[in-house]
């Protein structure tokens, strides 16, 4: 059912070009180029200090003036003060004003825009209804739970019909159960509004579950952009590979289309860069086979032995020693199937198509 008041303007694009930011003389972001498509749910993912929050704040107009450009719907906003950008931001701490009721908090942005009182009332009610807080309009922020506070912060932001929505670590102040619930709610709210939305997180699971695409940031630099699965399966560098989940990384070299490492490891790598130095694959992409049950297939096998076995519930994680390398292998645990014992000689089976050779 189309809802007239909640209808947001058509989603817009955010185009960041050649962006660098420095605090005093310390550079915190360098040469960022990135395009966020209209209506996309986009994540900035990175460890603390990677510059992801700085990048988000720069879109909203906070922090030092960046060099380069930030275009929202084609308009370069890099020089505009925050209050002229119409970019909605939900702060990590929610930043609800403690001296105002929930209603007053939500109405604030509309009052600043000199919207007529009757319309303010209607739109505030609408926004509170959207986040399910109609009953609490007259409460003070201090009387709300963390989850309710976050909904108020969301309502306060979407009520002004911002061009884009920015969320700074939206789930970090919530406990584990609420986190999963809000993950779904924020996701469906974003779909409902159709707003171009960017959120910052250091948690890859959060990014994977919510985002259409992720930009991984580390050490001032944009490491890789892509859909969650693409980043996970085809990381461009070792940092991305490791930040997105447990990975095996075996140092070696590419020789004549083969990745070679000590311990007799040879993996076909015809598309690998010639300066490839490390073979990367996820533990669940390797298999252990008992030495006597070898089968055919388009795979490679290496001799090794199981040095350690961990039972993690749904999976069993083996540490297989192949020459000097320790390789993690995850296999699903199924009731009644006996795991390979520690010390047993095995073959490590690997599909070259499920590996990546990286130069760094």
């Amino acid at each position: 059912m189309p809802d007239e008041t909640l209808a947001q303007p058509a989603p817009v694009e955010i185009r960041i070009e050649n962006l660098s930011i420095a605090f005093d003389r310390t550079e915190v972001l360098k040469d960022i180029d990135l395009v966020i498509e209209p209506g996309e749910f986009f994540a900035f993912l990175g460890p603390s200090g990677s510059g992801k929050s700085t990048l988000l704040r720069a879109i909203a107009g906070f922090g030092p003036r960046p060099s380069g450009s930030i275009r929202i719907d084609g308009e370069d906003v890099a020089g505009l003060p925050p209050y002229q950008r119409n970019v909605g931001m939900v702060f990590q701490s929610y930043a609800l004003w403690p001296h105002m009721t929930v209603r007053k908090n939500v109405a604030f942005g509309l009052e600043e825009r000199r919207v007529p009182a009757a319309e303010i009332r209607r739109r505030v009610d609408e926004a509170l209804d959207t986040v399910g807080l109609s009953d609490l309009a007259e409460r003070r922020p201090s009387q709300l739970s963390g989850g309710q506070q976050q909904r108020v912060a969301l309502a306060r932001t979407i009520v002004i019909r911002p061009r884009v929505l920015l969320l700074d670590e939206p789930l970090s102040n919530l406990d584990a159960n609420l986190r999963i619930q809000m993950r779904h709610e924020i996701h469906s709210l974003q779909r409902q509004l159709g707003l171009t939305t960017v959120f910052v997180t250091h948690d890859q699971e959060e990014a994977n579950t919510m985002a259409d695409r992720i930009a991984v940031l580390n050490d001032k630099i944009l490491q890789q952009i892509g859909a969650p699965m693409a980043l996970y399966d085809k990381p461009r560098n070792l940092f991305v590979a490791e930040f997105l989940g447990t990975t095996n990384a075996i140092p070696g070299a590419v020789v004549n289309g083969l990745f070679k490492a000590d311990g007799g490891i040879e993996v076909p790598a015809s598309n690998a860069p010639t300066d490839g130095k490390v073979l990367v694959f996820r533990p669940q992409n390797a298999l252990v086979e008992r030495a006597d049950q070898a089968s055919n297939g388009d795979v490679v096998r290496f001799e090794g032995h199981v040095s350690h076995m961990e039972f993690l519930g749904s999976i069993i994680r083996y540490t297989v020693e192949v020459g000097p390398h320790r390789v993690l292998v995850d296999e699903p645990h199924r009731t009644g199937i006996m795991p390979v014992g520690t010390g047993e000689k095995v073959l490590l089976r690997l599909d070259p198509a499920q590996t990546v050779v990286l130069a760094n």
Binding site: P82, G88, M89, W97, P98, R113, I160
Partner: protein, 573 residues
Amino acid sequence: MQSFIRTPSVAAWIAIGLALFLFAFLVLPIAKVIYVAFQDPNTGALTLVNFADFFGATLFQQSFINSFYAAGMSVLLATAIAIPLAYYTTRFNFEGSILIQTLGIVPLIMPPFVGAVAMVLLLGENGSVNLLLDEWFGFTIPFMDGLNGVILVESIHYFPFILINLSAALNNIDRAMEESAQNLGSQGARLFRRIVFPLAMPGYVAGASLVFIKVFDDIGTPLLLNINNMLAPQAYLRISSIGISDPMGYVISVMLVGFSLFSLWVSFLAMRGKDYATVQKGGGGLAKRDMRPWEKTICYGIIVVILVFVLSPHIGLTLLSFGTVWSFSVVPDGFTLAHYSSIFENATSYITNTLLYAGIAASADVVIGTAIAYLVWRTKLVGRKWLDYTAMGALAIPGVVLGIGYLRTFHDFQVPIIDQPLATWWVIIVIALTVRRLPYALRACVAALQQVSVMLEEAAENVGATKATTVRRIVVPLMSGGIMAGFVTSFATASVELSATIMLVSQESDAPLAAGIYEFMQSASGRGPGAALGMFAVVIVGLGTYLSHLLIERGKREREAVAIVAEEVKFHA
């Protein structure tokens, strides 16, 4: 005896002793004052006739209005001084911040009445500034004319209370509070009015109500400026000139207490439920930016003007203490050390009395403060909170009211052996100082005790120490930094306390520094020596303030070291 000490009754006995002390020297005298105010002076029956008389007399109506006006205007002027200073330090990256912090301390090390006379000589009708203005431009400014003088002197002495509270409140605002308003389209003055100011309001009100009551209760400043028609001075004058049976002094006392309670209540209301300390991890305080050159110029300009006013009592006092004759001239006619030497010849008793009184009072304060703190926070005695409340209640009692209460209650109480009424014995001055300073010492002791983990006590008891030993060997040593800071602050402020003292000094030889300065300053010839004594007061308070600052800083560093260990313990647990 071991088993006796183990029983909780020792704590109970100490609590009873403290309760008796507070009852005799705080509750009883104040109850007496209130009772007398409602008593017919002739028949002794309860009546409202005294209040009717009070509001019927033009002098008292005038006094009432004047006190209100002076206190209110002082708050406004103090606010006008404090706001730009607080704003500069919290909003800008400003090299002058150190200067502003200094500005916030300097006035506090001199009680306002000490500088009052010096201010007249600098800024009065025939003072240095107006002489120059008249000569150069042909006009004068009535800085010190009538109530203007009281307002100016009080506000430049008490604005730090507003500055400190307001700065703290501004620094406690989470930056995201401001950023989220900007994000929603707010900026500039509107943002300040709708977000920043309301968030800083509780801190401001707390500071402002403190200034209001300080001015309302002050007697030294108006009296030295020859302003008699204000409430607190009237209370003093009625009792000292007409006698302790005159009901007007008591009526005024009731009003002073009433207004003190009222302003404490206002500041309580302002703070209640509004713990706006919204700082989250990620840094507090408003976004700071660099100043543009012209902003910097304006900023320094304003600071220099304020600095000149704030330092004027100090400058005036220094000139006065070294000057020969200073009248109708910009600076004294000549300079001399005679005032200091005359002080050392004739007036050393003021200094020795002060050291004695303030020393005893401050010691008593930290002993009582530690005892109450321990009883309240570490025992389960019934009614222990009331010890705390009662001791803190002294905050609401102006010195002049306490003095009147003592005179009335103890004038016919003969002290055994020395055979003298307690009200005229010097010890009563010490008791008054002790009671007056107790709230501050108590808060310092409570803060110190709260830094001592109960686990440390339990560890001592676990290896066999009795409660008494634990307190003596573990608790008190660990509290010592805070206790020392409390002692020094009590000592420094008690040594310049005037309002209660002035009521209770019955003979010259018992008079402490503040009373001596007040006496000297009354006559033109006494101003020089009075100023020299005043310089001693400034030095004592200044040293005390510095020392207590050092002690608190050192305590903080030690605690940080301990806190790291405690964190690790928590982590491993």
